[in-house]
Amino acid sequence: MRAYTDSADDSARSLLGILADQSSNEELYRTAMRRLGEALARVIASNYASACQGNVYIVCTVEDADFLARGLLDGLLGAGVSSSQVRFACFWNERLRKFKNSDRETFDIAPIVKQYKEPIDVSSTLLIMVKSIISGACVVKTNLSALVEHAMPKRIIVAAPVMVHGSQDKLASEFPSELAERFEYVTFAYDDPATGADHLVEPGIGGSVYKRLGMESKASYVPELVKRRRQSLSASA
């Protein structure tokens, strides 16, 4: 059963409807995801205005980079955050639940195989972990662990258009309380946990985000946002 949050205005609800609608084509889906990123940015800029005065570290996974995270980045810039305040990181994770020679799911991990991380002092930032949906929290846990191994951010916002009921507690329980108590969440809707073997949440974001975005292989996908920012970083070095 879906429950909308107070942040979900008509526009956000309509965009979530486009994601859930199986007839939405790839282009429409991509645009909706980007608009949802902008909408999340507006909520963050409004609710965390003082935190947005300092450095902001936007962190995402590869499938979200060019759409949701791009929208969030543009939205923050549009809300007055300067580009010099913003740093960006992108992770390529592989979700593993079973071995190559078995159909039984006997573990659940999301190892990082590739990463793009712009240099920043994590301890003095507002870290925004943005993801299309927070369900099992495994990927978010992995990527957050990679970022906070040596330093703890001042504030951590986990932002996603849709979260599964209970996922926040699950994520928080994975970390020491000193870190977990810094977590804040921004979302538009809560859905019930997935029950099927495919682990897809209903209505969620309308299925597998890779397929809906039209990605053939997320492992080989290099986001335009990564290419552009890396080029710009090299030029300024």
Binding site: W92, E94, L96, K98, F99, K100, N101, S102, R104, T106, F107, D108, I109, P111, V113, K114, Q115, Y116, K117, E118, P119, K141, T142, S145, A146, E149, S173, E174, P176, A219, S220, Y221, V222, V226, K227, R230, L233, S234, A237
Partner: protein
């Protein structure tokens, strides 16, 4: 030096000397041990005893890294497990009924228990270390139908057995419930000895450090020769435990595909080992658990060190191409092609190791593209 620290010695004992008991004396710091056969024959052997690494202390506080240089000839010792009929004949009907009851209760309690799962994953990691270092495989068994049987590790070729009873409570004692635990350990030692094991180590594993200390001071004399209480921590979140206990982190890190793995990476290794064990349990050689655990894509565990150098798997024509890519750095680390792009913002590890067939395909693709920049092969990596 206590006899228990002489584990690396017995791999040098020729298997044809099939005696069961040795009296061992070692001059303190020297590499010479005198073995006197209790059957009357005397032999004198020179052996290498490596002092344990001061930086590595295990859950029992006395672990030593196996000797990488030692290669043990495998002996053909066959140890038959004692059947119910044999047990009844040797130790009586009451002992048999006790063993059956213990097994039934243990199997029920073990299902899905985090404490057992992490303990076994950690045992497997430790045993894999020995396997790689000196080729010494062991069989691991869960709920092994014994008196002390939550986890049993056997190395029959060495006549060596180590059995663990796990107690994730703080009120355990040797003597509660009519000396129940002490009796289990005494019976287990007797069964192992009758089966032909000569190196018998029984461990009561407890998640409360103060309780372990108390168990140490109250250990009954009758089982003191074979039994110890040891500490193993309990917690719902494996990563937190791995973060907290350096010895545990080191043991999982040893198997990671990364040279300097984070606690998250180590927790992933633990999860995969546990997943492999779940598929193979209740009994499997440790080598089989490793083979299973390596069947992930991307690989989470590194390959074992072999005579075949992984560096040699990176072809010279591929090296030439990679060497000329501006700002591209690479190295073979733990058998994997590990790379980064200056100034270090982009980095990764190829999903499969250098021995994998897919690594050959990747190299073909790189040569085929003949890239001039990193961006031209980025999607392949």
């Amino acid at each position: 030096m206590p006899a228990e620290d002489l584990r690396p010695v017995d791999r040098n004992v020729p298997s044809r000397l099939s005696v069961h008991r040795w009296k061992v004396s070692v001059s303190a710091q020297r590499y010479r041990a005198s073995f006197e056969c209790l059957e009357g024959r005397s032999v004198r052997l020179s052996v290498h005893v490596r002092p344990s690494s001061p930086g590595h202390r295990d859950a029992e506080g006395s672990g030593c890294r196996p000797d990488r240089t030692a290669r043990r000839p495998m002996s053909a010792v066959v140890i038959q497990r004692m059947s119910d009929a044999q047990l009844e004949q040797l130790l009586g009907r009451e002992a048999l009924e006790l063993r059956i009851a213990r097994h039934r209760g243990g199997a029920a309690a073990a299902r899905g228990h985090d404490y057992e799962q992490l303990f076994i994953a950690h045992r497997v990691a430790r045993l894999l270390m020995k396997l790689e270092m000196n080729g010494s495989d062991a069989t691991i068994e869960e709920q092994a139908n014994e008196f002390v049987d939550d986890v049993v590790v056997r190395r029959d070729s060495d006549r060596c057995v180590k059995a663990y009873q796990l107690k994730n409570t703080n009120n355990v004692s040797w003597t509660a419930d009519g000396d129940a635990i002490a009796r289990d350990f005494q019976l287990q030692a007797a069964v192992c000895e009758m089966e032909g094991y000569t190196r018998i180590r029984l461990r009561l594993v407890c998640s409360d450090q103060q309780r372990v200390a108390a168990l140490g001071t109250t250990l009954p004399a009758a089982i003191a020769a074979t039994t110890k209480a040891i500490y193993f921590p309990h917690g719902q979140k494996w990563q937190s435990l791995i973060d907290q206990y350096l010895w545990m982190r080191d043991d999982f890190a040893f198997l990671s595909r990364k040279a300097d793995p984070s606690s998250m990476d180590c927790a992933e290794v633990a999860s995969v080992l546990s997943g492999a064990w779940t598929l193979l349990k209740p009994k499997a050689p440790v080598s089989a658990v490793f083979e299973q655990a390596r069947k992930t894509s991307p690989a989470v565990l590194r390959p074992f060190v072999t005579a075949d150098d992984p560096e040699s798997r990176l072809r010279s024509d591929v090296r030439e191409i990679l060497d000329r890519l501006p700002g591209f750095n690479y190295a073979i680390v733990r058998g994997f092609l590990t790379w980064s792009l200056d100034p270090g913002t982009t980095s990764g590890i190829v999903k499969f190791d250098c021995f994998d067939l897919e690594f050959g395909i990747l190299q073909d693709q790189i040569v085929q593209r003949d890239p001039a920049t990193f961006e031209e092969i980025e999607e392949l990596l």
